[in-house]
């Protein structure tokens, strides 16, 4: 065939050549190319250096800045903000003070959410805590399964964020900024590292919800923002097609869909002969990827290959039922298939009221699935290069609010596990009433910087130009927290 054998070209195309070849004459793409090139240049620190790409990297970064400890991230996002006092931060003093006026010395002049202008009373944990594992990490009785993997965890008890309302706190936790249009962490990873799969999106978001404490989330939490659209997170649906439009129309079987795509390719090939528009080759490649997705997504979400023992491990009764536990199995399957960033939201943790039933229900919903994911990855040898983050967009107040707790940003707990994380440790602590992070506070930028470091990325050097600025996940802040790295 002629030199523009678009199909062959498309099958061999990779992102780099695509970009180089599609530069010509395509306004928007040319622009995207320029900014990407500039970003890539900025990202690698120098141009023209020989590529030292770590295995599996195919993104804008041309070399690892730091030793690569983790290849992918699974972010178990406990949306709504679970209480640290009923999970990982045991405060006996607070329990002693339960029901009494909360000392004014802690709260004076501080930002509160719904507790503004009210009398503040201490609320002790309604649960008890025990020490688990060789490390002796204190975990609440609500989470026996997570407690059983205590030696794999690095619990951070000194997290802090800047945003006290759900919407902006989610934005901050995911994008490091509250300005709309900043790329999310997963988009940064996909942009910087590419994905190890060509048949699935490289950044996938799964949702589940609990019985109490639901709060809305937004697609901007997995948006690519100012990065090109192909880096955005793809939300899997719990109803209908897992991915929007991934199912062929009714009355069109797979082979017929293939016939249509083949004919589209022929039409596009004829067009390419005439116009020589290089965008056509890319389009053909995208149709091929789309077709692969049409078969790989159903294969992915088909749990029949999972033995009963695995379902039991996760506590999944009906695979694919949209529960958090089921999503945890899916997360492992995605990790196995080379997806770079997997984010599981579980909306269940906004306990302004009904803290006790809410926490009990939430714990029941996520405890076993979370622990099973860690165990499962470990027995498959994948925990070493998978970085897991478990936590909410903020924590809860040590003060009560009716039968619950209000939002709190000055000290809360999250945990990391897996690739490059110092397992079996507790990092940082809060004051005796759990109001404020005292020792080794970790803010969201620090958490991001550290996670990037574990993935081999210097957070200063993963950036893109937008409106004249070097946009980064960590903005102009963030320091790597060595104490949580192995």
């Amino acid at each position: 065939m002629n030199p523009f054998d678009a199909h062959r070209h498309a099958l061999s195309v990779n992102r780099r050549t695509f970009l180089t070849q599609s530069a010509y004459g395509l306004g928007g793409l040319a622009l995207a190319l320029m900014s990407e090139r500039r970003a890539a240049a900025g990202a690698s620190g120098s141009t023209g250096a020989p590529s030292r790409l770590p295995p599996g990297w195919s993104g804008a970064l041309r070399e690892a800045h730091l030793p690569v400890k983790a290849k992918r991230v699974i972010f178990l996002c406990m949306a709504g903000g679970p209480s640290q006092f009923e999970t990982f931060d045991w405060k006996p003093k607070l329990k002693e003070l339960d029901g009494q006026v909360f000392p004014d010395s802690f709260t004076k002049g501080q930002q509160l959410a719904q507790l503004q202008n009210t009398v503040l009373k201490a609320r002790g944990a309604f649960t008890t805590f025990r020490k688990y594992g060789q490390a002796g990490i204190e975990v609440s009785d609500l989470f026996p399964q997570i407690a059983s993997v205590a030696d794999d965890l690095c619990v951070i008890r000194s997290m802090q964020t800047e945003q006290i309302n759900h919407d902006t706190a989610h934005a901050f936790m995911n994008t490091g900024s509250i300005i709309k249009g900043r790329p999310s962490m997963g988009s940064w990873l996909l942009y910087g590292l590419g994905a190890e799969t060509q048949e699935l999106p490289g950044f996938i978001v799964l949702n589940s919800q609990g019985k109490y404490g639901l709060q809305p989330i937004s697609a901007r939490q997995w948006s690519s923002g100012v990065l090109p659209g192909r880096f955005q997170g793809i939300q899997f649906q719990s109803r209908g097609d897992a991915v929007h439009y991934v199912g062929s129309p009714e009355g069109v079987c797979q082979s017929m869909q293939r016939q249509v795509i083949d004919e589209v390719r022929r039409m596009n090939g004829l067009l390419a002969e005439e116009t020589r528009d290089p965008e056509i080759a890319t389009r053909i490649a995208q149709y091929e990827m789309a077709f692969k997705m049409q078969s790989s997504v159903p294969e992915l979400t088909d749990f029949r290959s999972e033995p009963q023992s695995v379902l039991d491990l996760y506590g999944v009764k009906e695979p694919g039922d949209g529960s958090f536990a089921s999503n945890c199995i899916l997360a492992r399957r995605l990790a196995e298939r080379g997806v770079r960033m997997i984010q599981l939201y579980h909306r269940a943790w906004d306990h302004h009221t009904d803290l006790e039933p809410g926490m009990r229900a939430g714990a029941r919903e996520v405890d076993q699935g979370t622990a099973a994911l860690i165990k499962d990855l470990k027995q498959r040898g994948m925990l070493d290069d998978t970085l897991i983050l478990w936590g909410g967009e903020f924590g809860r107040t040590p003060m009560g609010q009716g039968t619950g707790r209000d939002h709190h940003i000055l000290g809360f707990s999250v945990f990391l596990a897996g690739g490059g994380v110092k397992a079996g440790t507790v990092y940082g602590s809060t004051d005796e009433l759990g109001y404020r992070a005292l020792e080794n506070p970790v803010n969201v930028h620090d958490l991001h910087a550290t996670m990037l470091a574990l993935l081999g990325i210097d957070h200063h050097r993963l950036n893109t130009k937008f409106q004249g600025l070097d946009v980064r996940l960590t903005g102009v802040a963030g320091k790597v927290v060595r104490g949580i790295m192995a």
Binding site: L26, V252, E263
Partner: protein, 1034 residues
């Protein structure tokens, strides 16, 4: 490396890398060659922001850069690189600038540029975008008359390139049509253009398309991105906001070619104009398009700061093409934008009436928003006429009158007439024993229930006049249940009279806590055997009520609950529930009325056997008069016949039809709609917030002033505080150079894909020097000086030979000008999301072009997409056939969950001003075109259209190309598709059930004719709709 060695190496030219640098003879230009590098690598520490400045060295201003620093170093010595500190430092391997920690190493080429610039005298130039706008002379180029072509050809000539030939006529018309209206040409339009050989054939097409009402729709997509127009508030619950009339305004403005200065003034400050028109007030909806919140726990002051910052970013992006965003926290690092500029600009908008949190929570009281729930709108709003709704209102009004005429028609057959006469006689007797036509409910049982079970310990009291009192609020799942047996077992309507006491002074003594929970009344029939069935209510309304909303839409009447208004005096309010069909109880049946609601004032129930067109018309005086009259005139007869048909099951179809039309008519809301506007209030105090921290009140109070770095600055004085109107006038005044530049640059991008300065959202020093600076200035001056006439500028651009060039790929340009910035050819460009949709539906013959403007429409969307949305929970209901196939510009814009089709094709969420969309090419796009029901349905209709036009397969295929691509097909294309068609026919013949399934997609009327043939052609249509050429404008 020691300074002296470095110097000697420099002098001798021995430094590595320098020899590889390009050696051109053209002098170095500061703006083109040096500023971008300085901006990227130096200004962070040696630029505008005093707080981060190092070593007291400032390089952005020549007067600073040329004088010795406090350490005695001379940053730049013109003509003498070896004496210039900056040259020594950038060459210094041991202690380089920028320092390694910055990760901003200069390339050898960049170092050489610096050296040469200093050697050539270190001539600074002011930043191009901020300098006064002077129209440059058009370069003289032989045989070129169009000014745009002169600028472009002159550059091309310098580079030794020739322009491309004009595009083929068919392709040119398709390009023009898509660019100006977002719609492709019809085969007839293409044929007419091909047949027109007059010299002005093209110009006539330009004029036709520029005056098409669809031009405004196309332009609106451009502006709505910039204005960040959306149907929802964006934060947290992302509730609906009422704002579509603003979109109508924008479309109308472009269709009327409203002057851009006026367009600007009306949006920013229409409310401040003398005697503002409704249209000018609608335009001020612009200032309300910031994200808003109603999240419980959100702090008003924090969100007011966010809204203020949002407006500054939006206004500066829209009208200055500049990024003020960073100046919220500190002076801009790379541009002369100071934090003070940010807050001074914000201060212009401090009078916009708004609330930090749009509710009335316990922790933060907003008395004006008392009773607001998550279903409520976001005031201030005004009511305006919507042409779209008004036309439907008028049409339905006519239909309704016709239905009423039907109800009033004389009885047609003798049998009917006899029944009517008997009914009248019976009702005369009924009214005689039932004064007023309403029978007070004589309860056979009255009880309180919870979850359907009677409460043993609490009973309602029944007064002699039948008034029921629950004596204490009804809790969750509790209800008041009344059983009765109306006169003759006939019921058409239920009435509830609620007696409200006068307010009782002190709040603590008030019996009721207003606003009360809405009162719900449901109707059942119960047989003695215990069976119960629900009776449908057509509509209910009340003499007075508090408005209720569902996702921001005001509910009609009280069918879905009656929220009582807080009384100012003792009064009795009346609510009437009109049954969908008159009811006749069997002998063993009773009527059961159930009332739910929290605190329930004493209520008196009544029933009647009379129906009516509207609840409050039941048993109207005219009916009672007509019944009482001994001599009935024609009017009386008409009233009685209407009442007869509404009160009996004599013509159930007419009854159902009437109620359906009446409900449709109500939905048009009298042809009116609410829309958010700007209302001026006493301005909030605006402080400069150190590091953007809203809790820090140490910063100085600022007053409105125009940006300090732009010419003609205007500042508030103690006597005169500048207003939004002053800002708008300054923006569109003769001193401001940047607005015309920014708008022309964005306009250019619409027709060539890239702005003359490629970074259209940042004309500052981190942006890009324009590829053709003189052309941009020429266009900007022409625009500003020529009456801000946007259509004239568009016409100028699209009539240029530069625009009309072929977009075919030219190998020889590829290396020299990879991004096609010299414009020796046009650039192909994928259509934007809305037009991908419009184009497919247009090709299918389905696109609904009946109306310009109107409420947002809801195309099919995957089920459950809004599952993670709450406060309130959202249920996306697709628009029906009346609005399903409207243009993409009317699609409901949900900021947190944008319609997947729009999102997949790069439409922005519109959280922030989006001056340019990215154009990605992803598998999600392929999946959308292949499988989204909209496109599958479009393929079926396109196929039906092609089949209906008749002819052989060959003729049909050729016709399909003309429809889909506005061009003739090529033999290879037809051959290939013919073979494909054969396989599809074979496939569907073998599996006819599959054909039926394929053709079921969407809400179009079911397919008819040869379904197997239609299915095969649908496959062909899918191929065409998925082809790159259909979604690309070449």
């Amino acid at each position: 490396m020691s300074r002296s060695i470095l110097r000697s190496l420099l002098v001798l030219g021995f430094l590595p890398g320098l020899h590889g640098a390009p050696s051109t003879t053209a002098p170095i230009s500061f703006n083109r060659d040096i500023r971008p590098i300085m901006s990227d690598t130096c200004f962070h520490c040696h630029g505008f922001d005093a707080t981060t400045r190092e070593a007291g060295m400032r390089l952005d201003l020549p007067e600073e850069a040329l004088k010795p620093t406090k350490n005695g170093l001379r940053p730049i010595v013109p003509g003498r690189p070896v004496e210039s500190e900056i040259i020594l430092r950038i060459m210094d391997k041991d202690d380089p600038m920028p320092p390694e920690t910055m990760h901003k190493a200069l390339t050898p080429e960049q170092k050489e540029l610096f050296r040469r610039w200093v050697a050539e005298g270190a001539v600074y130039e002011p930043h191009w975008a901020y300098t006064p706008l002077v129209q440059p002379a058009v370069p003289g180029v032989s045989d070129v008359t169009h000014p745009i072509d002169a600028f472009i050809r002159s550059r091309l000539g310098e580079k030794g390139f020739t322009p491309s030939a004009e595009a083929e006529k068919t392709r040119l018309l398709r390009r023009l049509s898509l660019d100006l209206t977002g719609l492709p040409p019809t085969p007839a339009e293409t044929a007419a253009f091909l047949a027109d050989h007059s010299p002005d054939a093209y110009g006539r097409q330009v004029d036709r398309l520029l005056t098409s009402p669809h031009h405004g729709e196309r332009m609106a997509v451009w502006w709505l991105d910039i204005a960040r127009f959306s149907d929802t508030v964006g934060f947290h619950g992302d509730q609906n906001q009422r704002i579509f009339p603003y979109r109508d305004y924008v479309i109308r403005a472009f269709n009327a070619n409203k002057r851009f200065d006026q367009f600007t003034v009306e949006q920013l400050a229409g409310d401040l104009l003398p005697n503002p028109t409704i249209e000018q007030r609608v335009a001020t909806g612009y200032n309300r398009l910031n994200l808003m919140t109603r999240e419980g726990g959100a702090q008003p002051a924090e969100y007011l700061a966010k809204y203020g910052a949002d407006r500054v970013r939006a206004v500066s992006a829209a009208w200055f093409g500049s990024t003020f965003g960073c100046a919220e926290c500190h002076d801009h690092k790379f541009d002369p934008i100071k934090a003070r500029d940010f807050y001074e600009l914000q201060a212009f908008f401090a009078d916009v009436k708004q609330w930090g949190v749009y509710s009335d929570y316990d922790y933060t009281r907003n008395p004006e928003l008392k009773g607001f729930t998550n279903e409520f709108p976001f005031p201030p709003e005004i009511e305006v006429e919507s042409p779209y709704l008004a036309s439907r209102h008028a049409q339905l009004q006519t239909e309704l009158l016709a239905e009423i005429e039907t109800l009033r028609r004389p009885a047609s057959v003798a049998d009917d007439a006899a029944r009517y006469a008997a009914w009248v006689a019976e009702q005369r007797a009924y009214v005689a024993r039932t004064p007023g036509g309403w029978e007070p409910a004589r309860a056979t049982a009255a009880e309180l229930r919870k979850k359907g079970q009677p409460l043993a310990d609490r009973k309602p009291s029944v007064a002699p006049d039948g008034t029921l009192d629950t004596d204490g609020p009804l809790a969750f799942q509790e209800s008041l249940r009344v059983t009765l047996r109306p006169d003759g077992g006939q019921v058409s309507a239920i009435r509830a009279e609620v007696t409200l006491a006068a307010p009782s002074g002190a709040a603590s003594e008030a019996k009721w806590r207003w606003p009360l929970a809405p009162l719900h009344l449901t109707v059942h029939v119960q047989s003695t055997a215990g069976a119960e069935r629900t009776v449908a209510v057509a509509f209910a309304d009340a003499s007075a009520k508090q408005p209720r909303y569902q996702s921001g839409v005001e509910l009609h009447g009280i069918t879905e609950g009656w929220r009582l208004p807080e009384p100012t005096r003792a009064e009795t309010l009346t609510g009437v529930w009109l049954l969908a069909e008159p009811l006749t109880l069997n002998a063993d049946e009773s009527l059961v009325l159930t009332i739910r609601g929290g605190e329930l004032p004493p209520v008196r129930l009544a029933t009647t056997r009379f129906g009516a067109t509207e609840p409050l018309e039941v048993a109207a005086p005219k009916v009672l008069r007509a019944l009482a009259a001994d001599e009935r005139g024609p009017t009386d007869e008409a009233v009685l016949r209407e009442t007869w048909r509404l009160s009996t099951r004599s013509d159930p179809q007419a009854l159902t039809r009437y109620h359906r039309v009446a409900a449709g008519l109500r939905a048009t809301r009298g042809g009116k709609a609410m829309t958010m506007v700007t209302e001026a209030a006493p301005p909030l105090t605006v402080r400069l917030l150190p590091r953007g921290n809203w809790q820090d009140e140490t910063g100085p109070v600022v007053t409105p002033a125009t940006p300090s770095f732009l010419p003609g600055r205007r500042e508030s004085t103690p006597e005169k505080r500048l207003t939004r109107l002053d800002l708008a006038h300054w923006i569109t005044g003769p001193d401001n150079p940047i607005t015309a530049r920014a708008v022309m640059n964005r306009l250019w991008a619409m027709y060539f894909g890239v702005g003359l300065s490629a970074v259209v959202d940042d004309l500052g020093s981190q942006g890009e020097l324009p590829s053709h600076p003189e052309l941009l200035d020429w266009l900007a001056a022409e625009f500003r000086g020529g009456g801000w006439d946007l259509r004239r500028m568009i016409r100028l651009i699209v009539t240029s030979a530069t625009y009309r060039q072929s977009s075919d790929y030219r190998t020889e340009l590829r290396e020299a000008d990879p991004a096609n910035r010299l414009l020796a050819a046009q650039s192909p460009r994928r259509l934007e999301a809305e037009f991908v949709r419009d184009n497919a539906l247009f090709i299918a013959g389905m696109l609904d072009l009946r109306d310009i403007g109107g409420p947002s429409a809801k195309p099919y969307q995957p089920a459950g997409y809004y599952a993670a949305l709450q406060f309130p929970d959202r249920d996306y209901v697709n628009s029906g056939a009346d609005a399903q196939w409207r243009r993409g510009v009317y699609t409901h814009w949900q900021r947190t969950f944008l319609h997947p089709m729009l999102a997949n094709f790069d439409a922005p969420a519109r959280d922030e001003c989006a001056a340019q969309r990215s154009l990605s090419n992803t598998p999600q796009q392929a999946l959308t075109l292949l499988n989204d029901p909209t496109f599958v349905e479009a393929a079926r209709q396109f196929a039906a259209r092609v089949i209906a036009d008749g002819g052989t397969d060959d003729a049909r295929l050729r016709h399909a190309f003309r429809i889909a691509l506005a061009r003739a097909s090529k033999p290879a294309e037809v051959d290939s598709l013919q073979a494909f068609l054969a396989t599809q026919r074979a496939t569907y013949r073998a599996a006819p059930a599959e054909a039926e399934k394929l053709l079921r997609q969407g809400i179009s009327p079911p397919a008819t004719g040869d379904l197997l043939e239609l299915a095969a052609w649908t496959s062909v249509a899918r191929v065409l709709l998925n082809s790159q050429e259909v979604i690309t404008r070449y």
